[in-house]
Assembly symmetry: none
Homo-oligomer: 207 residues x 4
């Protein structure tokens, strides 16, 4: 049984801290804050209050708010990739990989911060292709790989426009994080809808 690593499992300040622990502690709390209020609406004071650390300490570890935010994003993204590698390596069916991918998107609780990325790009006027793609690319690649594997193995149609469909699937899946706003609060309901998403898409992919 593979255990999913979750960023920020530890949420109380560790005793006998060293510098790296402190930094990680801040990142964990900050990730929660950004998830809950978005990039703009989260203030450094919010993070200070939630961590019970001084502003000076936060700025000692991170140059500014933006760097802290991107560090959080990067970490969650890495976490996701790591989990994906673990969970997908034993599986060879593209179809089953899609379900694993969907399930992972649902399971990794920190992922909502990825949903604040659009607001971040927009709020900071960084809406240029390069900056954006740099952050999205790794997860993007997962979907592309699944599609290519499916085509090569004969599971999926030969004429799929891989790049475009990867964008569509990626968008589709990440948009489901918004479901917290709708009536999908419980884990069961959420799991079901993530699964249903793949059910809905698969016929369009399969031969």
């Amino acid at each position: 049984m593979i255990e999913i690593k979750k960023v920020g499992d530890i949420m109380s300040r560790p005793i006998g801290v060293n510098s790296e622990d402190t930094k990680q502690f801040i990142v964990d709390i900050a990730t929660k804050c950004f998830e809950q209020k978005g990039y703009s609406a989260t203030s450094m004071a919010d993070i200070k209050n939630e961590t019970n650390m001084s502003k000076g300490t936060i700025y000692y570890h991170f140059k500014n708010k933006e760097e802290l935010y991107l560090y959080c994003i990067q970490q969650v993204s890495n976490e996701f990739l790591h989990n994906w590698t673990m969970m997908s390596k034993a599986e060879h069916s593209a179809e089953k990989k899609l379900y694993i991918w969907a399930n992972l998107n649902n399971l990794v609780v920190q992922k909502p911060i990825m949903n604040t990325l659009h607001e971040y790009f927009v709020a900071t006027n960084k809406n240029n292709y390069d900056a954006v793609i740099k952050l999205y690319e790794p997860e993007f690649q997962i979907v592309k790989d699944i599609l290519v594997e499916g085509i090569e193995s004969g599971e999926f149609k030969n004429d799929l426009q891989v790049d475009d469909i990867a964008v569509l699937l990626f968008n589709f899946m990440t948009s489901l994080d918004h479901l917290d706003l709708f009536d999908y609060g419980t884990p069961q309901k959420q799991k079901k809808i993530y699964r249903l998403a793949i059910d809905l898409i698969l016929p369009g992919l399969k031969k």
Copy 2:
């Protein structure tokens, strides 16, 4: 040929204004601002500068930033519904209606403001189901209607879970507004991807 009404066609301050014109002018500019920077990151000063009106005037017409934002949202939503009614009434195939719906999502240029709603709810801590659904419901209903019609006419599978799939489709479609961040800047590319989204989904719906 049906002409699509776009909110805010007029972008320069009209001469010989009356109160209602001024209000609409502010709404048009504000909609653009909120689209470009989101709810939190758009300041009343931004709107003041873009409109070249005084702060007093903006506050004369709108009680506060939130009311102005929701007024913009409401207007764009109404606009969308109006266009949908116009464009869909002559069509009886559920499949074709899906394409019309996708195309309309692509065409109506002000729609990106709808994509800031999640950030608005999150930033203002209004993440309760009722407040959210009130604003999303009308467009939501469009998708439900298409699905029900498709089932009744025999185009779509009988056992579709209409409510859940409506949520999925709505999320899927609105998530495509994020494409401005990726390499889909040109109208042609965008039109293609909106169409492709329906191509991808349809096999999962059809008998």
Copy 3:
């Protein structure tokens, strides 16, 4: 039986108004507003809302907030003097006049606005003797007159320092308007305390 005229008996906008009625209506409402929130904290918008008249109309009748305020003050002061003249002319005992004076201070419901004068002077930096005395003088004179009459008639001590004691009595009496903040809300309690004030002072005045 003498009927006490109260400023602002009419509190609903008169039908078939003429200009003077409108002006008086504004003054009545404004007096209430200034009483309730003081000079600084009462905004022209408050008065507009309470009167349901337009800002334009208020500024048509009064040059600015200050002029409106002083008009209210003047009217209440005149009202008080008028009532005093009516109620005191039949009385010849200085002692009894003091009680009538105290009672009148209690009865005239608009008087609290006089208690905002100090804040007005202080907020507008008009703390020069002349401006102040001009507004206080008439009521001031009432007290002086009573004292002089009492001395001349032999009721009061010969060596009273009339000017200083007049100031003290005037301050004493007007300070009682602050009693609304304490536990003296009911008319009975208030009447009692105004009377008690004179009971307390009289031995110091009488031979």
Copy 4:
């Protein structure tokens, strides 16, 4: 000889400040500002300008204007009580204590801020008995104590209504702060009138 402690003896920014000094410095200046213009008409910008500190610093030490104001009030009130305790403990005659009390009201130069309390209550709609009494009670108690002592020692009449008369005396005395508006600017004149106030009241109290 007892030296009267005055809040805010230091009025220029101390060198080598620590946090507590800065806070006290702000309080001293703010007290002066509130005295001079009242609660509503004193802006945080006024206090910033007078202190030559940044707005951020003021808000670092005090949550908001109201908290700063109440802190000033509290400090002045404590100061007064402290001085009263010092100056009155050696004295056993109720009559003499009244003169000491009056003299102290005159001497403690920061007291005018207490005169802005009515405007504060009124401007902030906090005109409920409990909020008010909480701030007035301590000084109120001084007067009650003097009266009770005077009755018990046989100096004052047995049948004095202590509570009511305490209110009257307290109001009377604090109203004298308004004398700055009249022709009582010099210390000599002020001292005289505070003394005269007690001269006037005493016959009503004594057997």
